[in-house]
């Protein structure tokens, strides 16, 4: 009776065996987390060495690291500052990481933040008489859409003419800075009675609510935190669950295979750039409506460039980018405290950030300096 049954049983077993998860979890985990972790440790160490080289006393160095910890996680205020700095870094970093997964190096997050933030600012004070529940989402959508369109220019140029996106996004960054200067002097944007370039203030109906103001009015953490978390989930879903994300990843890993699989490369490039720009534009919009309250020259403050480092450190994975963004936010907030407490220049933070990137970009170097972290189990067993 059961020959066919028996056969289908063995087939089912074989299928089940094939669907078992891969074995080498441990090795993959090491590769994914240990390199960034080791890079951060090494960067802090080298930061200390640099301070010593510039004749800062060991006591001051210790004091500055304590200040860094205190300023980033040492109090509710510190945590609020860290998270506030994290929000735009993660949003823009997600965009860069997503583009990177699609094989595009988007250097233009800064410019996309600028135009997105500026557009959001304009929408936030020129649309009057709207209830907050309509006005705020509308303003954020304007920032998102303008950022997307701005990045899509670079995508379009790449898709149609082959112009490399690294070059075109750098150029678009420069254009955005001057556009900002120009628009901030236009009468419908410039604040009344001011001669310097600065925009009118965001209307209250377009402000992102502060989350901890009931506790202490000085705590700046705002509802952009939830937007950021939603964006992490959304980008994860897009990359690993959706059809579009699969097409992005194929294009990024092997453009030739993507072409053979019938994926239209031009459309993929434009869409990936537009989504990256949307996230950066959203970062600009949350910065304007959640922190700054108005647009001014240089309001993007290099966040779009730091976000490149965040995306790299996070290995272009949404969760990695969230963790890397938290680290960079902490360095940002802690750096300010360090300057206050220990009198060490905040530029040191830039040096430490740069060192982290160098170490992340050179995993072999990290493995050479800190071999014990990367010794795999099998080798240990072999040695014993």
């Amino acid at each position: 009776m059961s020959q066919t049954e028996h056969k289908s049983d063995t087939t089912r077993d074989a299928v089940r065996a094939l669907m078992a998860p891969p074995i080498d979890r441990d090795g993959a985990w090491r590769e994914l987390f240990m390199v960034p972790l080791a890079a951060v440790m090494l960067a802090l160490l080298f930061g200390a060495l640099i301070m010593m080289a510039t004749s800062v006393s060991p006591a001051t160095i210790l004091q500055s690291f304590i200040a860094m910890a205190r300023g980033s996680v040492g109090s509710l205020h510190a945590i609020s500052e860290t998270l506030t700095a994290t929000i735009p870094l993660v949003l823009a970093g997600l965009g860069i990481g997503l583009a990177f997964r699609a094989g595009l190096f988007n250097i233009g997050a800064e410019g996309q933040m600028v135009v997105g933030g500026l557009a959001a600012a304009v929408a936030s004070f020129s649309l009057t008489g709207l209830p907050s529940i309509i006005h705020l989402p509308l303003v954020l959508m304007v920032g998102l859409a303008v950022g997307a369109l701005y990045a899509a220019i670079a995508g379009f140029l790449r898709a149609t003419t082959g112009a490399h996106e690294v070059i075109s996004t750098i150029m678009l960054n420069l254009i955005s800075f001057r556009l900002l200067d120009y628009f901030l002097r236009q009468p419908f944007i410039q604040k009344e009675g001011r001669s310097d370039p600065i925009s009118k203030a965001v209307l209250e109906s377009a402000e992102l609510p502060r989350l901890l103001s009931f506790f202490d009015g000085n705590l700046r953490l705002h509802a952009g935190l939830f937007i950021m978390l939603a964006a992490v989930l959304l980008v994860y879903w897009l990359l690993y669950r959706s059809k579009l994300g699969f097409a992005f990843r194929i294009s990024g890993e092997n453009p030739q295979a993507a072409r053979y699989a019938g994926i239209r490369s031009g459309l993929t490039i434009i869409l990936a750039m537009a989504i990256a720009g949307a996230l950066a534009g959203l970062a600009g919009a949350t910065q304007i409506t959640g922190v700054l309250g108005r647009a001014s020259p240089g309001f993007s403050a290099g966040i779009g460039f730091d976000a490149i480092a965040v995306a790299l450190l996070g290995r272009s994975h949404p969760v990695g980018i969230l963790l890397a963004g938290l680290l960079f936010g902490a360095l940002e907030a802690g750096g300010r405290q360090m300057q206050v407490d220990a009198g060490v220049s905040i530029d040191l933070i830039s040096i430490i950030q740069a060192l982290i990137i160098i170490f992340v970009a050179a995993p072999l170097l990290v493995k050479r300096i800190l071999p014990p972290l990367f010794r795999t189990k099998s080798v240990n067993e072999d040695a014993s």
Partner: protein, 522 residues
């Protein structure tokens, strides 16, 4: 100069690429090194050419142990390697390429091209190589380029020549003249290691043969002691059947029809010129030709990867000349790409992801804008079993599969759908013998289900074994068509020699259309 390898072992991670290998290379002798891809041939030769250091064992030259710290040491000892992929500068002349890195200098440290040219011509004449010294590499046919590689090695005074799969890029006629050069080198007292997986070449050229399987030497002797079947069995580890078991074709309606297809690159470079051919249901049509004579472009024209400058493509009586890749795919055209690593798969993706590389967007794996990964994994696991893709898990990165399993994965993806036409380009390149048998049987089975199959291959044997009809391409044209119906006993069929001549473009001077050599079997 005599070279001995004694007890050579080399391990990469958990893989033992070479275990306890003993090999002697004698002057005035051609040693055939036979083995499948991944058997350890390349590792062994890389040890000999100084790229890798063995974990254990030693290399003896004329009885004295030597150690190679790098390729420079090996070259200095008189060992020369001719790689499968040529390492030539296309815009340099032959002489310039030959002297690259060891340039003779004259007065004031200036390059002395005249002396170099003289030396090159001497070597040239001694071995009857007939290579023009001042032509640019890019203007030379592949067969001559290969001789330049040999010249390079001889110019560095090599006494031991390692030839890695040297015939892969040659026509049958070029192989003959290449063998003549190899014999001349042997008779001049050079030691030659001839690496190949083609049995008949071993039979023809080798004085001794060593068979490598899974990193070990599993057989050793003079070729005359063995039959091809013996060698194949040693190489694979089990008896191998050579005949594909193909019954006579019963062609039905025309599935694919090309009419006057022309492709011009950059407005001037003619890649395909007025190609007309057809493939019917229930037959396998082979495209023979030396690599680079328009086969790649032909496949691109059929699958929609590149647009045409003239002519039309019809599929099941529908004009598809301007249809997209995806549209053609959806109509039932399957494509096994010629270079699976570059265009057929994504090495860093899992086996399961690779199985849906070109079907992820539609039923049954797509759910609206999402992909149903559970379904993908289910399907992939079943397809792996059905198509004998050997992987521990469908989550494993496809890059860590062997070449044969990667190719079976691609074949599974393409044939598992409801297809009417299969375009298989170099379907068994770089694939082990077991997988070749399997892939061939799948293609024949596909034909027997009433589908049209078009096979493009630079291996003439593969074309002859599988095809019911054969077109030969040369210089972007179809210059000949052969009928390849074989009798029950395997006799008859197209004439190998005539096809070889057509592949070299001989006898077809001003014959732009097909069928000039028709009926070769008669």
């Amino acid at each position: 100069m005599k070279i001995e390898l004694q007890g050579i072992s080399k391990r990469f991670g958990l893989v033992l690429a070479n275990q306890e290998i003993d090999l002697a290379i004698q002057p005035g002798e051609v040693l055939g090194l036979l083995g499948e891809n991944g058997a350890g041939k390349s590792t062994l030769m890389n040890i000999l050419s100084g790229l890798y250091q063995p974990d254990t064992g030693e290399i003896l030259i004329d009885g004295k142990p030597v150690q190679f710290a790098g390729p420079g040491d090996s070259i200095a000892s008189g060992i020369g390697m001719v790689h499968q992929h040529f390492m030539l500068v296309p815009v340099f002349s032959v002489v310039e390429n030959v002297i690259l890195g060891v340039e003779p200098t004259g007065k004031g440290d200036f390059l002395d091209l005249d002396t170099a040219r003289e030396q090159v011509q001497q070597i040239n004449a001694r071995y009857g190589m007939d290579v023009p010294s001042d032509t640019l590499i890019e203007d030379l046919p592949v067969g001559i380029q290969q001789r330049v590689e040999i010249l390079k090695v001889l110019f560095r005074s090599a006494d031991v020549l390692i030839l890695d799969e040297p015939t892969a890029v040659l026509t049958p006629q070029e192989v003959e003249s290449f063998f003549a050069i190899v014999r001349a080198l042997r008779d001049a007292g050079k030691a030659i290691v001839f690496i190949t997986h083609k049995l008949h070449e071993i039979m023809e050229i080798a004085d001794r043969v060593s068979v490598l399987r899974q990193g070990r030497i599993v057989g050793h002797g003079t070729p005359s002691e063995f039959s091809e079947g013996d060698l194949a069995e040693m190489m694979v580890g089990r008896p191998v059947s050579f005949s594909v078991g193909r019954t006579a074709a019963t062609p039905g309606q025309t599935v694919l029809e090309l009419d006057g297809v022309t492709m011009i690159e950059g407005g001037q470079d003619v890649r395909l010129s007025d190609i007309s051919l057809n493939v019917r249901a229930g037959e396998i049509v082979g495209i023979a030709g030396v690599q680079g004579n328009g086969q790649t472009e032909l496949v691109e024209a059929i699958t929609g990867l590149t647009g045409l400058n003239g002519g039309s493509v019809r599929f099941l009586n529908n004009e598809i000349t301007s249809s997209s890749v995806r549209a053609r795919h959806a109509m039932g055209i399957a494509h096994i790409p010629e270079d699976r690593q570059r265009s057929g798969m994504v090495a860093s993706f899992s086996v399961a992801e690779n199985m849906v590389l070109n079907s992820y967007y539609d039923d049954p794996v797509a759910r609206g804008v999402q992909i149903d990964w559970q379904q993908v994994h289910d399907q992939a696991a079943e397809a792996c079993l059905k198509y004998d893709v050997r992987t521990p898990s469908v989550f494993l990165g496809a890059g860590s599969l062997s070449g044969g399993n990667q190719q079976k994965m691609v074949v599974a993806r393409e044939l598992e759908r409801d297809v009417r036409l299969v375009v298989a380009s170099q379907p068994t390149r770089g694939v082990d013998v077991g997988s070749i048998e399997y892939i061939h049987s799948q293609l024949v089975a596909c034909r027997d289900r009433g589908n049209a199959v078009l096979i493009v291959s630079s291996e003439l044997d593969e074309i002859l074994d599988l095809s019911d009809r054969i077109y030969v391409m040369y210089g972007g044209r179809v210059i000949a068509e052969f009928d390849n119906h074989r009798a029950e006993d395997g006799s008859g069929g197209a004439d190998r020699n005539q096809i070889g001549l057509a592949m070299a473009g001989i006898g077809t001077d001003d014959s732009p259309s097909d069928a000039t050599l028709m009926g070769a079997s008669a």
